[in-house]
C-alpha cells in the first residue's frame, strides 16, 4: 500500500509538506503511522506553481529510488513554492515479482494533459481484467501506457472518460470521469468473478482541482488462504485524511492549518503528516471528495460513492 498527499491553496514550500512535519510524507517511507510496512517502490510528484513556465503542465518528478536519500529532491523542495501538488511514495510487496521502474512511479501523467493520477490501493487479479479495459480506453491513450501497474491503467481509463483530455476540465467533469472509471472497473471485476477486496483510493488533480476517493470494492472479503490481513492489518478501510484552513504553517513547533476566516488551503493525505492527528479529520469510507480553487478560495464538497 502506498502513501499519497495532495495540496491545493496558498503558495507553500514543497519542503513544508514533504519534509517539515514530524510525520511528513518522506518520513512515511520508513515510519508511516497507519501502515506497518516500508514503502520502497519509489517517489514522484506533480506540482503547479504561479511562476512555472506553462502553468497548466505540472512539474513532473519521478524516481524509482527512495526520497529519503534524494539530495536533488530535498534541494528542489527547499526552493520551490507551489499552489498545488500531488506527491506519492510507492509501496510494493517484498518479493521478486515486483517491477521497480520509473514507469511504475506515481503520479501518472501523459504528455498533452494536465490531469495526473496517483493511487493508493491494489486491484485484485488485475492481470485477468487488464485487457478487458481496452474496450473502454481510447487507443491514443492506451498506446501511452509504459509501465506494469494497475494504477497506470486506471489513469488511462479515467482520462478516456473525459471528452477532451487535452482541454482543461471542470471539477464536475473530473468527478464524472472518476465515477465512470470506477463503475467500469466494477463491471469488469464482475465479468471475471473477482470478488475479493480491492482498495481504490485515487487522487486526481490538474492544478486547480483535487478529486480524492476513499473507496473499496468488496471490502472485508480477503482471499481464503491469505493470512496477511488477519495477522498484520487491523481491518481498517484504507485511510484518507484531510485538513483545511488559511495556510499550512509551523506555529510554536506545531504544523497546523491556520484559521484565517476563509478556506484557502487544503491537504488530503493517506494519513496525517503530523503524529498528532487532532487537527485532521477522516474522509468517510465510500466517499469522493472534491477540492477546487477559485478566486483564492478553496471549495470542498464530498459525497457518497455508489458505483
Amino acid at each position: 500500500m502506498c502513501r499519497v498527499l495532495a495540496y491545493l491553496g496558498r503558495p507553500v514550500l514543497i519542503d513544508d509538506l514533504l519534509y517539515g512535519p514530524d510525520s511528513s510524507l518522506v518520513s512515511q517511507v520508513y515510519d508511516a503511522e497507519l501502515y506497518a510496512y516500508l514503502n520502497l517502490g519509489g517517489f514522484g510528484l506533480a506540482a503547479w506553481g504561479a511562476g512555472f513556465a506553462g502553468p497548466d503542465a505540472p512539474l513532473h518528478y519521478r524516481t524509482p529510488s527512495l526520497p529519503t536519500f534524494d539530495r536533488n529532491l530535498r534541494s528542489l523542495s527547499r526552493k520551490l513554492t507551489v499552489s498545488a501538488v500531488v506527491a506519492h511514495i510507492r509501496g510494493v510487496p517484498y518479493d521478486e515479482s515486483q517491477t521497480l521502474s520509473v514507469h511504475n512511479v506515481h503520479p501518472f501523467r501523459f504528455e498533452g494533459t494536465s490531469v495526473v493520477l496517483a493511487m493508493n490501493g491494489t486491484l485484485s487479479r488485475f492481470g485477468e481484467m487488464r485487457y478487458d479495459l481496452l474496450g473502454h480506453i481510447r487507443p491514443d491513450i492506451a498506446r501511452r501506457i509504459e509501465g506494469t501497474t494497475d494504477s497506470e491503467w486506471v489513469y488511462a481509463l479515467l482520462l478516456s472518460q473525459l471528452s477532451d483530455p487535452a482541454a482543461p476540465s471542470t471539477p464536475e467533469q473530473l468527478e464524472r470521469a472518476t465515477e465512470t472509471a470506477l463503475r467500469i472497473l466494477r463491471e469488469v471485476r464482475g465479468r471475471h468473478g473477482v470478488n475479493t477486496e480491492s482498495d481504490v483510493n485515487l487522487v486526481v488533480a490538474d492544478g486547480r482541482t483535487i478529486i480524492a476517493t476513499r473507496f473499496a470494492y468488496d471490502y472485508g472479503w480477503y482471499p481464503e488462504e491469505e493470512t496477511y490481513y488477519s495477522k498484520r492489518r487491523r481491518y481498517d478501510f484504507t485511510s484518507l485524511w484531510c485538513t483545511a484552513g488559511r495556510d499550512y504553517v509551523c506555529r510554536e513547533g506545531e504544523w497546523v492549518m491556520r484559521n484565517g476566516g476563509r478556506l484557502e488551503s487544503v491537504i488530503v493525505a493517506s494519513e496525517p503528516i503530523t503524529k498528532d492527528s487532532s487537527t485532521w479529520v477522516e474522509v468517510p469510507e465510500y466517499a469522493m471528495m472534491t477540492a477546487s480553487l477559485g478566486d483564492g478560495i478553496v471549495r470542498i464538497t464530498a459525497r457518497e460513492l455508489v458505483v
Binding site: D218, Y219, G220, W221, Y222, E224, T227, Y229, S230, K231, R234, Y235, D236, F237, C242, T243, A244, G245, R246, V256, M257, R258, N259, G260, G261, R262, L263, D276, S277, S278, T279, W280, V281, E282, V283, P284, E285, Y286, A287, M289, R299, I300, T301, A302, R303, E304, L305, V306
Partner: protein
C-alpha cells in the same frame, strides 16, 4: 486525600454506587488525589491515556480539536462524574482535551495500578470493568444522539423491517479464519472453538437491513466477511457512524444496557456474520468464569472502538460536507466553512 476519603468519594460517585466494601477498598487503594486550578489542563488530546479521573469538586470541559484552529466542545464534567475511562479499558491516546473551568479536585485511578488490580483478579477490578462498560454505552448513546440532532430533528426515515435470514452452521474454513480475527485474539484456542460452536452463521446481500434503530436487538453480530455499516438516518439524511468489517461486532449496545438499538445496521457489502443470541450474550456478560471474562473484554474493546469511531465521525460531521451525511441518492452538496 487519604485512602479513607478516596473510599468515601468513590462510594458517592454514581459509577461506583452499589459496589461492595471489599470492591471499593480495592479501588481506593490505587486511587490518588489530583487538583487543578481554573484554566489548567487535566490531560491533552493525543497524550497517552494513563488514568481515569473521578471528580469530587469543581467543573471541567472536554473539547476536541478540529482543522483551522477550531474546537468542538464535547461535554461539561462536574462533581461525581468520571472522565478518561477509556484509559482503563483500552489505553491508547486521549481523544479530547480536558481543562478545568474552575478549581477542581478528585481522585485518579492510574492505568498501571488498575492493570495490576485486574491481573490479580481482584473483585473490584471486575466490578469496575462492568461499570465502565456501562459508562461507555452511555457515552456512545449520547454521541449518537448528538450526531442525530446535527442531522436534523426530522423524523426518522421509514424503513422496511429488517431481513431475517436463515441461520446455519459455521464452516470449517470459516472457523479457522474466524479464530484469527482480533475479536478472538485473547481467547485460548479451546474457548474460541467452544464459542464458534455456539454461534449461528448468516449471509446478507448488499443493502440488507439487519437491525433497525429503535428495535430491541436480538443478537450480537460479528462480521466474518464483508462490512456492515451502522447509520443514523433522518428523513433525507444519513450518517454512517461505523463500518464494521471482519472481526468487528455490531448491534450489541442494547444487549448490554437493555435499551433499544440506537442505529440502523445494514450490509454495506455482501456479508457473512456470526450471531450470538441475546440470552447467551446476557449470560456471558454477567458470568464469572474465564470464558465470560474474555468475552466481556472483547466486547469492551469493540465498544471502545465504536466510541472512538463515533467521535471521529462527529469531528468529520462538524467539518461538513466531508461527512457525506447527505443520502447518496440526493447527491446534494454543502460548502465546507472554516
Amino acid at each position: 486525600m487519604s485512602a479513607a476519603s478516596a473510599d468515601e468519594l468513590l462510594a458517592t460517585a454514581p459509577l461506583f454506587a452499589g459496589l461492595g466494601s471489599e470492591e471499593l477498598a480495592d479501588l481506593a487503594r490505587v486511587a490518588q488525589p489530583f487538583r487543578r486550578l481554573a484554566g489548567e489542563l487535566l490531560f491533552q488530546q493525543g497524550e497517552p491515556a494513563d488514568g481515569l479521573y473521578v471528580v469530587e469538586s469543581g467543573r471541567l470541559e472536554s473539547v476536541a480539536r478540529l482543522p483551522a484552529e477550531r474546537e468542538l466542545s464535547l461535554a461539561a464534567i462536574g462533581p461525581g462524574e468520571v472522565i478518561g475511562e477509556l484509559a482503563l479499558l483500552s489505553g491508547g491516546t486521549r481523544t479530547a482535551t480536558v481543562r478545568a473551568l474552575e478549581a477542581t479536585a478528585g481522585v485518579v485511578i492510574e492505568r498501571r495500578a488498575f492493570d495490576s488490580l485486574r491481573a490479580s483478579l481482584r473483585p473490584g477490578a471486575r466490578a469496575m470493568m462492568r461499570r465502565l462498560c456501562g459508562v461507555v454505552c452511555d457515552r456512545l448513546r449520547r454521541r449518537y444522539a448528538t450526531i442525530g440532532r446535527r442531522l436534523g430533528e426530522d423524523e426518522e426515515r421509514a424503513r422496511p423491517p429488517p431481513v431475517r435470514p436463515e441461520m446455519d452452521a459455521v464452516t470449517e474454513t470459516e472457523r479457522r479464519y474466524a479464530s484469527r480475527l482480533p475479536f478472538f485474539s485473547r481467547f485460548p484456542a479451546g474457548d474460541v472453538e467452544r464459542l464458534l460452536t455456539e454461534l449461528g452463521r448468516l449471509e446478507l446481500a448488499r443493502g440488507d437491513l439487519l437491525v433497525r434503530a429503535g428495535d430491541r436487538p436480538d443478537a450480537l453480530y460479528l462480521t466474518l466477511r464483508g462490512g456492515v455499516e451502522a447509520t443514523i438516518e433522518r428523513r433525507d439524511r444519513k450518517q454512517r457512524v461505523r463500518l464494521a468489517g471482519p472481526g468487528t461486532a455490531c448491534a450489541y449496545l442494547g444487549l448490554i444496557d437493555e435499551g433499544p438499538g440506537p442505529v440502523d445496521c445494514r450490509a454495506r457489502e455482501r456479508a457473512v456474520l456470526l450471531a450470538s443470541p441475546r440470552a447467551r450474550v446476557r449470560e456471558l456478560l454477567v458470568a464469572n468464569d474465564p470464558l465470560a471474562h474474555r468475552f466481556l473484554d472483547a466486547v469492551q474493546q469493540d465498544l471502545v472502538q465504536a466510541l472512538r469511531d463515533a467521535e471521529r465521525r462527529q469531528a468529520t460531521l462538524i467539518s461538513a460536507p466531508l461527512s457525506c451525511s447527505v443520502a447518496a441518492a440526493d447527491a446534494q452538496r454543502k460548502a465546507f466553512a472554516p
